[in-house]
């Protein structure tokens, strides 16, 4: 089994603070982490390797600093890590990103055929959930998104069975390898890094590929040039100016405030009274 896991380095949103007055994001000193959704996929890949043997390769496209995210994955037990980095990738939208990653994965496959690719459900920064489906399409792999469980994997018949979250239920699907899977969050728990793997991660010589090493010849398909979408402007959401009607009562007692509010609610919004009474019944 050879499994490739795509990971992205992102700013830790739990530590992002919004400026209380200007409402802008305060990014200074926000640490970079492995996109949390990717860890569910990495853990699933490692689990499959534990059962079936083989190799797990992690790959990221990003700036040189993204190396830290790859080392983290090695410490969890990934075997190999590849950093695809080139100025030519700057400004990529999801179409250009999936092209670059799919080409790089095809390059990896020249070494050892790739049986499965794992992606996160989405990232916490770009947050589009489009890169996984894009890579699958470009590599002509079967796509299994929002997987809550990999039920079984049979290497001999090259089939896999999974449970996939749909809107109103769960689909049990079977498909053939190679396939691309995106795992749902909360479906497993990332293992602890062992001492050995932590040492290995620190010493590990990761592969750094530029555009050419990644096998990308056509620069018109990557970076800004390869991106159909363009950001035309960034602006603050239009603030609604209507301020709340503050409920007041003579006594100011909670009971009076509550009664005043309800009578306003029901007289000013006649449909409301009906809706509320109906609901409560």
């Amino acid at each position: 089994m050879h499994i490739v896991v795509c990971i992205k380095q992102v700013p830790d949103s739990a530590q992002i603070r919004v400026h209380p007055v200007t409402n802008t994001i305060m990014r200074q000193g926000v640490p970079a982490i492995v996109n949390p959704y990717d860890l569910f996929s990495l853990e699933e890949a490692l689990r499959l390797k534990d059962i079936h043997g083989g190799r797990v390769t992690v790959i990221t496209m990003g700036p040189p600093q993204a190396e830290a995210a790859l080392r983290k994955c090695i410490s969890f037990g990934a075997d190999e890590a590849i950093l695809v980095t080139d100025r030519a990738f700057a400004g990529a939208d999801t179409l250009a990103t999936s092209y670059a990653l799919a080409t790089a994965i095809a390059q990896i496959a020249k070494d050892q055929a790739v049986d499965m690719v794992f992606c996160g459900k989405q990232t916490i920064d770009g947050d589009t959930a489009q890169v996984g489906p894009g890579i699958a399409k470009r590599m002509d792999m079967q796509l299994l998104t929002y997987v809550s469980q990999v039920d079984s994997l049979d290497i001999t018949s090259r089939t896999v069975q999974v449970q996939r979250r749909a809107e109103g239920g769960v689909q049990v699907l079977t498909t053939r390898l190679p396939c691309l899977v995106t795992m749902l969050e909360g479906t497993n728990e990332m293992r602890f890094a062992t001492m050995d793997n932590m040492f290995r991660a620190a010493r590990y010589q990761l592969k750094v590929w530029d555009r050419v090493a990644a096998g990308i010849e056509d620069v018109s398909k990557i970076g800004l040039k390869g991106s159909p979408t363009v950001v035309s402007k960034v602006f603050a959401p239009q603030a609604k100016t209507q301020r709340a009607e503050i409920i007041d009562s003579e006594s100011g007692e909670p009971r009076d405030l509550a009664l005043t509010l309800i009578s306003k609610l029901f007289t000013q919004h006649p449909a409301m009274s009906e809706a509320v009474v109906k609901q409560s019944a």
């Binding site: 949103s13 979250r165 035309s232």
Partner: protein, 364 residues
């Protein structure tokens, strides 16, 4: 075949893009009508409502796209699409489309686009819509904007201006797909309002073959396990939501939220810190990284009204805010506000509603 072309042609002097004749042939606004188990996802109707406005601005027809197994259901979906604003529907009926699967749906939708050439294609940002949109956009090699909260037409470029949150939600960015067609976008459920249904509307149906047989389809559906709806919170379509924030201080106080919700037959919602503290499930988080809701009534207690919370609930018809800080941002957009301690206001409100219901009962 795709709409991939050379670098955009920029008109001298102005910031206007001139489309090639090939791309000019793309006309009309399409909405993918998503269904599962014989039911259309309401986000499709919300998108038809939004698509109607875009089509009017462009002066083009609005179409629904239905892919499904042959039978009465698909016809009914087309009819429903007309009721919700579609002028016509593109329909592919094939046994292979009985359950959603990526491969046949991608093939079907891609073929329709390449044959009938819409300029805009909208899908719901659901597990099905996102799975499909990403695959179709990649096959067509066109742009796809995710989770839009506003859709407009940039008339100068005759192009879709799709806005979505950025920088953690404090800002919006507008994304254009200038020199590729169709322009694709997804929108989360409940972000757009439900259009008025008009049962007198009719339309025409254009049928198209799938051109794929079951043996060509690699992935098989073995089983479908429907959710037990009872044990899943249904915030997105709740009529009334009572939400609590960090101002509730602890899980014991948060019980006051449940008390009021129980009386009103409402769902319980929460801000992110409450979910992160583990007082309630993630399913109940309202906001940018949680659910978007549009209830008739949203009661928020101990919630400051940060932009990331606001974007998830400002579509509510009436918002009641309870907060002890008169300067809390939530009072800037709520309908009614009570400045005070939620721990005393909430029980008083529960009591007052009880009284009201008793009176209503006696009257009827």
């Amino acid at each position: 075949m795709s709409a991939e072309t050379k670098a955009p042609v920029k008109k001298a002097g102005k910031g206007k893009y001139e489309l090639s004749d090939e791309l000019k042939a793309y006309q009309g606004v399409w909405v993918f009508v998503e269904h599962e188990r014989g039911e259309v996802h309401p986000v499709s109707w919300e998108l038809l409502g939004e698509g109607r406005k875009l089509a009017a601005q462009l002066g083009v027809p609005l179409s629904g796209v239905v892919l499904g197994a042959p039978g009465l259901a698909t016809r009914r979906f087309c009819e429903e699409a007309f009721f919700h604003g579609a002028d016509n529907c593109y329909l592919i009926e094939d046994a292979a489309l009985g359950n959603y699967r990526n491969q046949p749906f991608t093939k079907g939708l891609t073929d329709l686009v390449n044959t009938y050439k819409p300029e805009i294609l909208l899908l719901g940002a659901t597990t099905q819509g996102r799975d499909l949109a990403g695959s179709v956009a990649t096959t067509l090699k066109t742009g796809l904007t995710a989770d839009c909260t506003e859709l407009n037409i940039d008339m100068e470029n005759r192009s879709l201006a799709a806005s979505r949150p950025t920088f953690g939600g404090s800002l919006l960015c507008t994304i254009l797909t200038l020199n590729y067609r169709p322009q694709m976008a997804t929108v989360r459920p409940r972000v757009m309002s439900m259009p008025q249904r008009d049962n007198s509307r009719t339309g025409s149906i254009v049928q198209h073959p799938l051109g794929l047989i079951e043996t060509d389809i690699v992935t098989k559906v073995l089983e479908y396990i429907p959710d037990n709806r009872q044990d899943k919170p249904q915030l997105a379509f709740a009529d009334i939501i009572v939400s609590g924030g960090r101002g509730m201080k602890n899980p014991e106080n948060f019980q006051l939220i449940w008390d009021l919700a129980l009386l009103l037959g409402a769902e319980v919602g929460a801000s992110r810190p409450v979910v992160q503290a583990g007082w309630v499930d993630l399913e109940r988080q309202v906001g940018q990284s949680g659910k978007t809701v549009r209830p008739k009534l949203y009661i928020a207690a101990g919630i400051s009204g940060a932009i990331q919370h606001r974007v998830g609930m400002e579509g509510s018809d009436v918002i009641i805010a309870i907060n002890n800080d008169p300067n809390a941002p939530i009072f800037d957009f709520a309908t009614y506000g009570i400045v005070g301690n939620a721990m005393t206001i909430l029980p008083a409100l529960t009591q007052a509603f009880k009284q009201q219901f008793a009176v209503a009962k006696m009257a009827s």
